[in-house]
């Protein structure tokens, strides 16, 4: 057996991380030089990535996603405050190492380009729904002295809606804005809306996976603890096509 054969034979163990610490370090070093093993372990890791789903899921908890997102975004904003200083430091470093700086600049530009392309694709996607919309519904919503509204563009081609909620203040503590589809057989819970008076919330939503036709939509204010299939809170908007 050649050294390479040993690595081929131990790809599964590397992906499972069951190699001994020394072996794992050696394997990692080998991957730097061996494209074949790098591709092989990468493929294996992708294939076996699903294995994590053998474990039973933890049932969704109302408001969890929004809480986690808030923590992540708040952390990111904290970092943003230091960005000017970090940028200044980066500039100083760049001035000190022109060759390295050039490479780093290219990488940053590529990242920036990828972000802009992503933004453009998302905008094009949203615009395609708005442009193709064959029905538009809107209603005003008054909330705590704020005048806002709900606007729905229905695109029959892609079977998606562009939903815009604007002018509403953030939901009070313990409550969430809940968007619902109205179908012939009842209400179907959709997304929670992150409202903010400073900017509208844009959502592109596919039709819910139910057989009954969708007839309209509603926006309610629900207590965070309510995960029932029917709205129980205050109805803020009710639109029927």
């Amino acid at each position: 057996m050649t050294t390479h054969d040993w690595y081929v034979e131990h790809r599964e163990a590397y992906v499972a991380r069951s190699l001994e610490p020394g072996e794992e370090r050696a394997f990692r070093n080998h991957l730097v030089h061996c494209d074949e093993c790098a591709r092989g372990t990468d493929r294996l890791a992708r294939e076996l990535g699903w294995l994590g789903m053998a474990v039973d899921p933890v049932p969704p908890e109302p408001g969890r996603a929004r809480r986690m997102a808030s923590v992540i975004l708040a952390r990111r904003n904290r970092w943003r405050r230091w960005l000017p200083l970090a940028a200044a430091a980066a500039l100083a470093l760049a001035a000190g190492g022109a060759a390295l700086g050039g490479r780093s600049e290219r990488r940053e530009l590529r990242t920036l380009l990828a972000e802009r392309e992503g933004e453009l694709a998302a905008l094009q996607d949203t615009l395609s729904v708005l442009r193709r919309a064959h029905q538009v519904l809107q209603t005003r919503i008054s909330m705590d002295g704020h005048e806002g509204g709900l606007l729905i563009f229905q695109d029959a081609v892609s079977h998606r809606w562009c939903v815009i909620v604007h002018g509403l203040p953030p939901a009070p503590a313990g409550s969430v804005y809940q968007f619902w589809f109205i179908t012939e057989t009842g209400m179907v819970r959709s997304v929670e809306v992150n409202a903010d008076t400073r900017r509208p919330a844009f959502m592109t939503l596919p039709m819910p996976g139910v057989a009954a036709p969708v007839m309209g939509a509603a926006l309610t204010m629900e207590p965070v603890v309510n995960r029932s299939s029917e709205p129980r809170g205050v109805t803020l908007a009710h639109l029927v096509f």
Partner: protein
């Protein structure tokens, strides 16, 4: 000790089910979610967390047996995904297995750090088990969980392995033990551990292959 796993509900929604609530992700397709994450759409982050967190929490809580620590790991995973959103352009790799992989690796790092400190081993032993092969999946509102059918397939693939191979996979993949540690735990030679692991992963790759087209 294995967790008690009640029999699966026969398709009826429990009283507090949210029909269709999260199913939209499978319908929406992953490409649009990726694009919106790259575009720093904060709602997309919420949707990603909604869809993936039940599975990530499932695997991290099972591995770490500590809810707070598992929650921390999952938060780190999503923060890392958000920070690296511009690199999510590789559509050959599905988001969910990618996130699961990161979550498992981070949970493993913590487990190993914990082992090094020789702490909490007893609790890991108590909770680190997967449901037994003959049991069905846990009672969850499956209609509201995107990926439930994937869970059933993966659960089934694992349950289809011979017990001696399944136990090696469980110890390696979900408890992060090395070959020699597994050999000690099961009182078998290291060579046997390696063979069983290789055979098991070979079978699992075949069994999991049809899943690759499922997207978040």
């Amino acid at each position: 000790m294995p967790r008690p796993v009640p029999p699966r509900q026969g398709g009826a929604d429990p009283p507090d089910a949210a029909p269709g609530g999260s199913r939209r992700f499978a319908l929406a397709g992953e490409a649009s979610l990726r694009r919106r994450l790259v575009a720093r759409d904060e709602q997309a982050l919420v949707e990603l967390i909604e869809a993936a967190s039940p599975w990530l929490l499932g695997v991290t809580r099972s591995m770490l047996a500590d809810h707070d620590e598992a929650d921390e790991v999952v938060l780190e995973v999503f923060a890392s995904a958000w920070d690296r959103a511009s690199g999510l352009g590789d559509e050959n790799e599905m988001l969910l297995p990618w996130l699961l992989r990161i979550a498992r690796n981070r949970a493993l790092d913590r487990l190993r750090g914990r082992r090094r400190r020789r702490l909490k081993l007893a609790r890991a032993d108590a909770y680190g088990e997967l449901p037994p092969a003959q049991a069905g999946p846990a009672e969850v509102d499956e209609a509201a969980l995107p990926g439930w059918h994937v869970h059933e397939s993966v659960h089934g693939a694992l349950a289809g392995l011979p017990e001696e191979q399944r136990s090696v996979v469980r110890l390696a993949y979900f408890r992060g033990l090395t070959h020699s540690e597994i050999a000690r735990e099961l009182a078998i030679p290291v060579g046997t551990v390696k063979t069983r692991l290789r055979l098991a992963f070979g079978k699992l790759r075949v069994a999991l292959a049809p899943i690759k087209d499922w997207v978040l």
